[in-house]
């Protein structure tokens, strides 16, 4: 299946005075021989062991594996939230491991969006302010100009128009996760990383979130990397990387399908003994 190109120019969020980064040709995300080791008590654990992968612009890639396979750790490494013990991550042409903390932070601000299992909204802020957080951090006034337009657009996409003034404790679990999704999408990041985004939701609500993720990829060309232990969630992806003991054991190509049928994936996983 060919990769999907973005339908519209991206809104680049930069620090005042810093030049906006140009989109990179080639894979939007690359991992080369990525390794992460840490010590747990007196045990050495190798959470990720020599993983290499690439994700192209507009792709929807899922990473699956049993508990303890290292998939969440891999996602954190890919997003620059953690530093690898060895290996390299190239995000939109930037070698993340060579950047210092400040440069990594700014790269993260400009290039990535995150959706976590536990929503992670700021309780003191309302829906609009939570979604606007990337702009606020960058010093851009979220109530004016392009920023305001982007926020309204993304709130419309996640069906939260009219709820801007509500605080997180006034929202249901599904609504909170939609806020988190809107926040991740508002700056049209180079890549959106989702770690078990439906893990804390019921079946129907989880489906809504996954549908929205897929639409953003299919209609807007958003590149997505999703981690999940749930085959139903992984079935939304174009391809699935199966992780075991910190390594990629298999790659399952599913293609871009609107029906998101999980049965072929489940069957293949069964063959792998998962």
């Amino acid at each position: 299946m060919p990769s999907v190109q973005p339908a519209a120019p991206k809104l680049q969020v930069s620090l005042a005075g810093a030049p906006a980064r140009r989109p990179h040709d080639g894979p939007i995300l690359e991992a080369r021989d990525l390794t992460k080791r840490y010590t747990l008590g007196n045990r050495r654990v190798e959470a990720v062991n020599g993983v290499s992968l690439s994700v192209h612009r507009g792709e929807f890639v899922a990473i699956m594996g049993p508990s303890g396979s290292g998939k969440s750790t891999l996602l954190l490494l890919l997003g620059g939230l953690d530093r690898p013990t060895a290996g390299e991550v190239i995000l939109d042409g930037e070698a993340v491991s060579r950047l210092n903390d400040r440069e990594t932070t700014i790269l993260r601000r400009e290039k990535t969006g995150f959706v976590f299992q536990f929503f992670n909204l700021i309780p003191l802020l309302d829906v609009y302010e939570n979604v606007a957080l990337p702009f606020t951090i960058a010093g851009v006034d979220p109530r004016r100009g392009e920023a305001a337009a982007s926020i309204q657009d993304v709130l419309g996409r996640v069906d939260l128009v009219g709820r801007e003034r509500n605080r997180p404790d006034q929202l249901s679990a599904g609504e909170q996760q939609r806020v988190a999704l809107a926040r991740a999408l508002v700056t049209r990041p180079a890549i959106l990383l989702a770690d078990e985004p439906t893990g804390n939701l019921d079946y129907a609500t989880g489906g809504e979130i996954l549908d929205e993720l897929w639409r953003s990829c299919d209609e807007l060309g958003q590149t997505i990397v999703l981690v999940s232990h749930d085959a139903r969630a992984a079935a939304y992806a174009d391809r699935v990387l199966v992780l075991g003991d910190g390594r990629i054991c298999d790659e399952i190509k599913l293609g871009r399908n609107a029906d998101h049928d999980a049965r072929p994936l489940i069957a293949r996983l069964a063959q792998l003994g998962l």
Partner: protein, 853 residues
């Protein structure tokens, strides 16, 4: 929210109780600081005013060292010195208005007046003498007088009235006509407003003397003061004298206030430090509470400096709000402080200084201390990683442990601020009093402060055993005690921080109690050790010792001995040394003075024979004097040499130091002492109560005021009590601030244990037991802190006592009452602080608690 900084204000608003308590704590610390600074500035201003009044426009003052005053030869030399334009002589003596002495023998003598004999031409050239009515003195005036408005109002005097002044025995009472009334209290502060000014010749006749007390000098234009000083020192060799410039007068007056200011600042620093604890603790709790949020902000692209800025903004808001509130409250506290203290010596205080300088200084220090206290929590917040946003379960561990070591930074900031505002001249006095509470210069308070900091840093290591000991009184609540102890041990750093503020507050209270008790005891013991009798007959001017007064009283039934004691100054090593003339045989008979070296009997005999001196231990240590040494006193063309025949633990206290003891022969012949300032009376055993009325009546007929030694001790004790009560009240505020911090800590602890409390309730613990658990937690913390605070306080207090009176360390007495009260207060404050959090815990819904994430 347009800016990320708005998150800082939201965070403060989201926890209104915590923010309020923190602001209140900072406000208390800043209020005490501002009260100290403002009151101190007012004291300085009062000293400057008094010094300016004292010296007027005179550039120099030549003052007599001997009681008989500067003789005519010295006055001529001074007046003829090149560069001197005006030499204004003055004779100053205290006496009674004759009318006031017409009282019943049993009544106390009236307040004395100060008579100042002046040159009517020269004096107004150097001193302003504003009149409210009448005229100034003229050269032709004889029996004319000026009085102050204050005296006129007090005695009902008007222009043209006759004023009768008591003089020396020979001339007797003399009448003066009031020709002018000076406005206010006059330009001699130590007169206290009761000032009478007469021509110099009339004053000399009244007091039967040819000398003058001082010569104020005005210099010719362009002449340097230092040149005139050199000329005077080269030309005056007739008699010893004191030479003072305006700054010397200021320094002399400031000695009485500087130590008090320093003590106030030391206590203020402790209270401010407690406030800093509160900031440190509050922000540490905020960091722990918001770990996941901060991790999320970092994941979303917030840099470390941005996170740090958010925390520092919160601290700045709390600090600024607290400082402004504290300044407002501190203004009132400054007025109360000045009103409570009233005056020291001859300097009366006015209202507090509310000029921009102390306000801005206090604001700057308050904000600086706040920022210093918040640096470590802010830095810790900036180290939170994005991964911390993703950890399940409690996020507090990711925020790291508050490092108490950083309190050293706060200590340093407060110490530097104290150094910047430290009063000039503090730490110079010896002997009991406010100087006792401070020690030498700035080092003493720094050592005290450092000890308090060290105690706080040690607390975490002792927490376990301390809590075990503190748990003993609560033994009957075994399960709640166990849970309370485990809660306190959950975050030892936070527990130690909370306890630390309480420790330093209580330590300060106990230290002040220790100092107060021992200083009072030393002061009172001093009199018993050095005065040969049970009563003093005090005169406001020297009384001849060979006159009829002593003989008449000594002959009265029931009187065993009447011993004259005179206080005066002697020139030694270029400075004025206080001396006392005593009758050695009276001391020998009465068994007074504790000899450190030398034989008492032979020492007293040598005093009476002449050529001998007894020195106090304090002077011996300072000047390295030994038994048998010959001390040389610069008494005019021929110096006086006296042999050291004894060294005593304590001697008769003078104005600013202990006096050396000489015999009356040396005192009058070599040092110009003209009489006794008081007589020490010893009654026959069993006859004191019957003999007293007659002795008192006789004394008052000679204008001598009886003063029982117990009453003097009581007066000294009362004055010290008054001061130490003020200091105690300020130190207790540190404990209150610590209590505010405890409310914060316990509330946070309850919120962290919501699920645990739900489980306890589900298992069968009643809400009353939950309430009790939190209260016991506070009680344990309070008792543990109080025990450490009491121990540290006794140590600090003993240092204060050791500094104030060398050689008495062996006689140190722990202040048991202060210790017990401090411990009780510490526990009560802690339990009071627990009431709100305990209520929170006990009122939680079990269902909601169990569902809490």
């Amino acid at each position: 929210m347009r800016r990320l900084s708005s998150l800082a204000w939201r965070s403060l608003r989201a926890r209104p109780l915590r923010s309020f308590l923190t602001v209140a704590g900072v406000a208390v610390g800043v209020a005490v600081l501002f009260a100290s600074l403002s009151a101190g500035a007012a004291m300085d201003a009062a000293v400057e005013r008094a010094a300016a009044d004292e010296m007027g426009r005179a550039a120099l003052r030549v003052e007599a060292l001997e009681e008989r005053g500067l003789g005519p030869e010295t006055r001529d030399i001074v007046a003829a010195t090149p560069g001197v334009a005006v030499a204004a002589p003055a004779l100053e003596r205290r006496t009674y208005l004759a009318a006031g002495l017409e009282v019943a023998p049993s009544d106390a003598l009236p307040a004395p007046v100060t008579v100042l004999g002046i040159d009517p031409i020269a004096e107004p050239r150097l001193h302003d003498m504003p009149l409210s009515s009448g005229r100034l003195l003229l050269v032709a005036d004889t029996r004319s007088a000026l009085v102050t408005s204050a005296l006129a109002d007090a005695e009902g005097l008007r222009l043209g009235d006759t004023l009768t002044l008591n003089g020396a025995a020979a001339p007797g009472p003399q009448d003066f006509t009031i020709v002018g009334i000076l406005s206010g209290e006059g330009y001699l502060p130590r007169a206290g407003g009761r000032l009478v000014i007469v021509p110099l010749a009339e004053a000399q006749a009244l007091f039967d003397t040819g000398g003058v007390t001082r010569l104020d000098l005005g210099l010719r234009a362009g002449v340097a003061t230092s040149d005139v000083i050199a000329e005077l020192e080269a030309s005056i060799d007739t008699e010893p004298y004191l030479l003072a410039v305006a700054a010397d007068t200021t320094a002399s007056l400031r000695r009485g206030t500087a130590d008090l200011q320093a003590t106030l600042l030391l206590v203020a620093a402790v209270v401010l430090f407690a406030g800093a604890f509160l900031i440190f603790n509050t922000l540490s709790m905020t960091v722990a509470e918001r770990t996941r949020e901060v991790g999320l902000l970092r994941a979303a692209g917030t840099t470390r400096p941005q996170v740090m800025m958010l925390m520092l903004l919160q601290a700045l808001a709390l600090g600024a709000a607290g400082s402004l509130a504290g300044i407002a409250v501190g203004a009132g506290a400054a007025a109360l402080t000045l009103g409570w203290v009233g005056s020291t010596g001859s300097v009366a205080f006015g209202g507090p200084d509310l000029s921009p300088a102390p306000i801005l200084l206090t604001l700057a220090i308050g904000i600086l201390v706040t920022l210093a206290a918040s640096l470590e929590p802010a830095w810790r917040a900036s180290r939170i990683t994005p991964i911390d946003a993703l950890r399940p379960g409690p996020a507090t561990s990711a925020a790291g442990v508050a490092r108490l070591r950083w309190l050293v930074l706060v200590f340093g900031v407060v110490a530097m601020a104290a150094f910047a505002v430290w009063p000039r001249g503090a730490g110079g006095s010896t002997g009991p009093g406010t100087g006792a509470a401070v020690g030498s210069g700035l080092w003493g308070p720094l050592v005290v402060y450092g000890l308090l900091l060290a105690a706080v840093l040690i607390v975490p290591r002792l927490l376990g055993p301390l809590l075990r000991v503190a748990a003993m009184p609560f033994g009957m609540f075994r399960s709640q005690v166990r849970l309370a102890r485990s809660s306190l041990a959950r975050d030892t750093s936070r527990t130690a921080l909370t306890a630390g503020a309480l420790v330093i507050g209580l330590a300060m209270v106990v230290a002040l109690g220790t100092a107060a008790q021992n200083v009072r005891r030393i002061g009172q013991g001093w009199l018993a050790e050095t005065i040969p009798g049970s009563e003093l007959l005090i005169s406001i001017r020297p009384v001849a010792i060979d006159g009829e007064i002593r003989d008449e009283i000594a002959a009265m039934p029931g009187v065993k001995s009447v011993s004259p004691i005179g206080l005066f100054g002697v020139p030694w090593e270029g400075v004025r040394q206080e001396a006392a003339a005593v009758v050695g045989s009276d001391f020998a008979a009465d068994g007074r003075l504790v000899f450190v070296e030398g034989n008492p009997a032979s020492a007293f005999a040598a005093l009476d024979a002449g050529g001998a001196v007894i020195v106090p231990e304090s002077l011996r240590s300072e000047a390295e004097i030994h038994l048998g040494d010959i001390l040389t006193f610069g008494t005019g063309p021929e110096p006086t040499k006296l042999r050291v025949v004894g060294i005593v633990a304590h001697s008769i206290p003078g104005d600013s130091q202990e006096a050396i003891l000489v015999g009356w022969a040396d005192a009058s012949e070599a040092f110009g002492a003209i009489g006794a300032d008081f007589f020490a009376i010893r009654y026959q055993p069993g006859l004191e109560s019957s003999a007293r009325p007659a002795v008192h009546a006789a004394a008052r007929s000679y204008a001598l005021e009886p003063a029982d030694l117990d009453r003097i001790r009581g007066t000294v004790g009362d004055a010290l009590d008054r001061l130490f009560h003020l200091l105690d009240a300020m130190a207790l505020l540190a404990v209150v601030v610590a209590g505010l911090g405890m409310v914060n800590t316990l509330s946070m602890s309850v919120l962290e244990r919501v699920r645990e409390i739900g489980v306890l309730r589900a298992t069968g613990m009643s809400s009353r037991q939950v309430w009790g658990m939190v209260v016991i937690e506070a009680g344990l913390l309070g008792l543990a802190s109080a025990l450490v605070g009491a121990l540290v306080g006794v140590g600090v207090g003993s240092l204060l006592v050791a500094w104030s009176s060398s050689g008495l360390f062996g006689a140190f007495e722990p202040p048991w009452l202060s210790i017990v009260l401090a411990v009780l207060f510490g526990v009560l404050i802690s339990i009071a602080a627990a009431i709100y959090p305990a209520g929170l815990a006990s009122r939680q819904s079990m269902v909601q608690a169990l569902q809490h994430e």
